[in-house]
């Protein structure tokens, strides 16, 4: 039986508002790569993709009791709107955290945000008009690139080496941009245990970078979620401690405590801070009181520095598992050995493309983030980021072993077809939040 032929009607693009979107929204699209990550959440898959801290290492029972008491005893405050700049007692305690990296500040200098990701968005909102230039390391944090892209910034990458951002390359880039009549608004940098690069900007280079930026009238945006997670030595002084007027500093509890609270902060020169507060109020009215009170209580009553030391030990053990497995199973690749943080940045053997290899990895039940996510133009496909923060050492070893089989079979394909140039260009990936 066949249906009678109905009268044709106009076509649909399945989205009645398609023609109404802002231009920038058209590039916000679910990608093939994002779809593949749906499998990464299954327990069969060893995910070396996510930058998720090891929450299992926290005293969850005690935190549960803490949360109960906050709601029962202070619920009328915890569940109410709060200050746009953030809870004052938390801002005072944040000074203690930053003091570990040499930052001297006043509670009024601190703006509490919904994760440092919101602080990134606020700074970009306050400084960036479409087409303005942001200079950032190559590679650079994927979540920052997403914010910069959404504000239609022109991101220019500057290379790093084992000692972090290269001052000479920065100077050349700024000179070139100036000569081209470009307005550079700020340098975005993750100086400690870089995401994804794993490297740390040396103490010697820090003043040099600040001098170069100052001489070109370029603000520095110092993003420091990992600074306290070093394995072998005390934290280096923050760049903010060396130049309070030239640096906006972003801090976070997501990596040293728990990302679920979504609490971070910005410390900025006075006038900038005023604008950040106004922009934050316009965006979210106020950060969560309940989350801020939980963090303030944690900092007041728990041995948070002892917890960070435990994390350091656990993450070092996981890093060691990853590095030794890479040496054993994928010796033809190369990588750095991070002395803190969450990530190893792996250069694949010649001719391999991390993005086009990902479906094969999913078949082999292992996941990683292709290097292209960390470049504004989607280059960097010859690298991948491996995270050791979340899986146990045994799972890490198993994941790297699986990855080795993927590399072998991809090498076989590339040997057959030569080096055809990797995945198609022109697509921008929007990774899921749990890989940040």
């Amino acid at each position: 039986m066949t249906e009678p032929t109905p009268t044709p009607r106009e076509g649909t693009r399945l989205d009645p508002w398609y023609g109404s979107y802002a231009q920038r929204a058209h590039q916000m699209r679910a990608s093939e790569i994002r779809a593949l990550f749906a499998v990464a959440s299954r327990p069969e898959v060893v995910s070396l993709a996510g930058g998720m801290p090891f929450i299992g290492g926290l005293p969850l029972e005690e935190l549960g009791e803490m949360t109960r008491r906050i709601i029962v005893e202070q619920g009328e405050v915890a569940l109410q709107y709060g200050s746009g700049q953030g809870d004052e007692s938390l801002r005072e305690k944040i000074l203690d955290v930053m003091a570990l990296e040499g930052i001297q500040a006043h509670p009024d200098d601190v703006v509490v945000t919904t994760g440092s990701q919101q602080a990134l968005d606020l700074v970009t909102t306050v400084f960036i008009d479409p087409g303005d230039v942001i200079v950032a390391e190559a590679p650079s944090y994927v979540g920052a690139l997403g914010v910069f892209r959404a504000h239609e910034a022109d991101v220019v990458h500057v290379p790093m080496d084992a000692e972090g951002l290269i001052p000479e390359a920065l100077e050349q880039t700024l000179a070139r941009l100036k000569a081209a009549g470009k307005r550079v608004k700020f340098l975005y940098t993750v100086p400690n245990f870089h995401n994804p690069g794993g490297v740390t900007l040396t103490l010697e280079r820090r003043p040099r970078i600040l001098e170069i930026c100052a001489s070109y009238g370029v603000l520095v945006l110092e993003d420091n979620p990992y600074g306290l997670l070093g394995f072998d030595r005390d934290p280096l002084p923050a760049m903010r401690s060396m130049s309070p007027e030239g640096v906006i500093y972003l801090g976070s509890f997501s990596k040293t405590f728990a990302p679920g609270y979504r609490v971070g902060w910005a410390v900025a020169p006075h006038a900038v801070r005023e604008k950040l507060v106004l922009a934050s109020e316009a965006a979210i009215l106020s950060p969560s009181n309940a989350s801020q009170m939980a963090i303030a209580t944690y900092l007041e009553h728990f041995d948070w520095q002892g917890q960070i030391k435990k994390f350091q030990v656990q993450y070092r053990e996981r890093r060691d598992a990853m590095i030794s497995s890479l040496g054993e199973h994928i010796p033809e690749a190369s990588w750095n050995v991070p002395d803190g943080g969450f990530y190893v940045w792996v250069k694949l053997p010649e001719g391999l493309d991390a993005k086009s290899m990902l479906p094969r990895a999913v078949t082999a039940r292992v996941a990683y983030v292709a290097g292209s996510a960390f470049y504004i133009d989607g280059s960097g496909t010859d690298h991948m980021r491996l995270s050791y923060c979340f899986p146990t050492p045994d799972r890490i070893r198993e994941g790297v072993r699986r990855l080795a089989t993927v590399v072998d079979s991809e090498l076989e394909t590339v040997r057959i077809f030569g080096n055809p140039g990797g995945a198609r260009e022109g697509t921008v990936d929007f990774p899921a939040p749990d890989i940040f």
Binding site: M1, T2, E32, S356, T413
Partner: protein
């Protein structure tokens, strides 16, 4: 009645499957005593055996969902299910085998060749790629011999892009299907029912801006859909008859989607057969049902009730 929707799995198409499963689950909720949504994991068999399940609707896309293995499991458990049997799914899943079966029934498909990666290694990739161009001319479509959801697909217009398309394809599976790209009107024909009771829904015409890939398929905007398709009565008749012939020839049950291109000579060239067609918000079968004036929850309920009444597949 307790209907269990199976969605998820470990294939590359897990994301699409979960979206399909949620849609069908939500549409059925309220019209049956109980509707549950279940992933394919270690909980599955205990749930099937002891969870009071009357009927299952497998909505897994990609391997294990469409290659017949999940259906075989359901047959082993002895639970009725919506959709094609394991035996027929196995045949439809392998695009090369399906093309051969269709060819014997006089159904046109684009000229094609299936090529395992090992062959390229043994005889030299460049020689094979040259042969492909000589045989089919460009453009050609390169896709995994097994798989769906537009994953791993490339339309190749230039010889120098062919190797990259092969590498992209082989990341999804060890055998590539290369076929001549046919120009014409692309129409997706959804079929409901089984055997002589099967009926074709109005065609959905797909017009893509640029290349047809995952991005175009699952992000509203780059594809324009016409439901019903802008066809003449004669074209509509050909499309419907072809879809029904495919459905019956391949022994498909309950629901299928046959993708085809109506070429300039008035022939329907079948390019894909789906035994578990997508049911997401951008999928083609729901659009076809809507164009036919059908109420989706009612269609889904009828499919479930038919399967339950039919009972389990008995071993053959």
């Amino acid at each position: 009645m307790h209907a269990m929707i199976l969605a998820g799995g470990l294939s590359h198409e897990r994301d699409v499957s979960i979206r399909s499963g949620r849609r069908v689950h939500d549409a059925l909720r309220g019209s049956l005593d109980r509707v549950s949504l279940q992933d394919v994991d270690t909980e599955l068999i205990p749930s099937l055996r002891f969870g009071g399940v009357d009927v299952v609707w497998p909505l897994l896309h990609g391997a294990s969902g469409e290659d017949g293995s999940l259906q075989a499991l359901l047959e082993l458990v002895g639970v009725p299910y919506v959709g094609t049997t394991s035996k027929s799914a196995r045949v439809a899943w392998n695009k090369a085998v399906a093309k051969a079966v269709l060819g014997r029934s006089g159904i046109s498909t684009p000229d094609y060749v299936t090529l395992p990666q090992s062959l390229f290694r043994e005889v030299g990739a460049e020689h094979v790629l040259d042969l492909i161009v000589a045989r089919f001319e460009l453009p050609v479509v390169v896709k995994p011999a097994r798989g769906g959801s537009a994953l791993g697909i490339s339309v190749v217009h230039k010889r120098e892009d062919l190797a990259r398309a092969m590498v992209h394809c082989f990341a999804y599976g060890d055998t590539a299907l290369v076929e001549r790209a046919v120009e014409g009107i692309e129409v997706a024909m959804s079929v409901l029912g089984t055997g002589d009771d099967a009926r074709a829904l109005p065609g959905v015409e797909v017009v893509v801006d640029g290349e047809y890939d995952y991005d175009a398929r699952y992000n509203p905007g780059r594809c324009e859909y016409f439901a019903p398709a802008r066809l003449t009565d004669e074209q509509s008749r050909i499309a419907s008859e072809t879809a029904l012939l495919v459905h019956r020839t391949m022994d498909l049950r309950d629901v299928s989607r046959v993708d085809m291109i109506l070429d300039s000579e008035g022939r329907a060239q079948v390019i894909d057969i789906n035994v578990a067609p997508g049911m997401t918000e951008t999928s083609l079968l729901p659009q076809a049902a809507e164009a036919a004036g059908l109420d989706l929850p009612t269609v889904y309920r009828e499919l479930v009730e038919t399967a339950a009444a039919r009972g389990p597949v008995t071993a053959t």
